[in-house]
Symmetry: C2
């Protein structure tokens, strides 16, 4: 497998771009770009004793208000203990509210407070600004390709969460 040559080039055009070198460039592009992707919100979060985990929780609670802890767990892909610590501080600081479920009292439904929404706006504005600039520089076709590859790279479960969120916002 690791013959340093990548896929055979028998079919020419179709597989030429799948050399190990090209793949490695894709890997490194992912690495460097993700750093840029998180840099702006991270800078903001440092000043308020929060971390990336808080950002993620706030993002998805805003995206799916009323979601349960268990649901959020599946989306974030962390253990509930990790999430719990984050949620506890967010609730203590008045950014998130937790309501006991009506039909199932074991569940907690999560919502952002006004303060939580404000922080969410600040954070995603910073992140969107970079994304908007990158999208504009790259052009519509590149953006389409970008998303196609990203979707193909997800684990099936993640892809499912992704599409479900996407559809819920139409």
């Amino acid at each position: 497998m690791a013959d340093g040559r990548g896929a055979s080039s028998q079919t020419g055009e179709n597989l030429l771009f799948l050399t190990d070198e090209q793949l490695r460039q894709g890997i490194e592009a992912m690495f460097f770009a993700y750093r840029g992707f998180t840099a702006d919100p991270d800078k903001i979060l440092v000043d308020m004793a929060y971390g990336r985990a808080h950002h993620r929780a706030i993002h998805f609670i805003n995206r799916a208000p009323g979601t349960t802890v268990n649901n959020l767990l599946g989306i974030l892909g962390v253990t509930k203990q990790s999430l719990n610590r984050v949620l506890r501080t967010l609730i203590a600081d008045g950014l998130v509210k937790s309501h006991v479920g009506k039909s199932d009292k074991r569940e907690r439904h999560l919502y952002l407070t006004d303060a939580g929404r404000a922080l969410e706006q600040t954070l995603s504005d910073a992140q969107r600004m970079r994304m908007r600039s990158a999208f504009r520089d790259a052009g519509p076709e590149a953006v389409a390709g970008f998303r196609t590859v990203l979707e193909a790279m997800m684990d099936p479960e993640m892809h499912h969460s992704y599409t479900r969120l996407k559809e819920s916002s139409t």
Copy 2:
């Protein structure tokens, strides 16, 4: 700015795809895809008491043999203290060798040992497999767009490291 409507659509075709909703989908795609991107090597690393930081170090030492600690610092974007802990274990375990510089004895030049190269192969094979499959599913044009957007998303310094590595391998 955050009017929930994104860029104006006066120019039609050109800016239509830059709504906040589209940007948010891009953000979420990045999040879910990056998880997939790191999932396979992570699984391997868990079994040997290593983490993602070790993988990154091994990757770039393999990519640029003889690189100095300081050079690696710039690429990885961490403090030298963080890197040092990782390097210490890798050297102790015989995966990396460190040679004192000839012209400048303050420098340490880093190389993978045979064992280090073997681990690097194992890890990047896993990562490349997913990348290859995603690239193949998405097609050459999508891949080109993928990289264009990613490059536009990097910080200028990161973009510089990225191109320098890319060019060094021709």
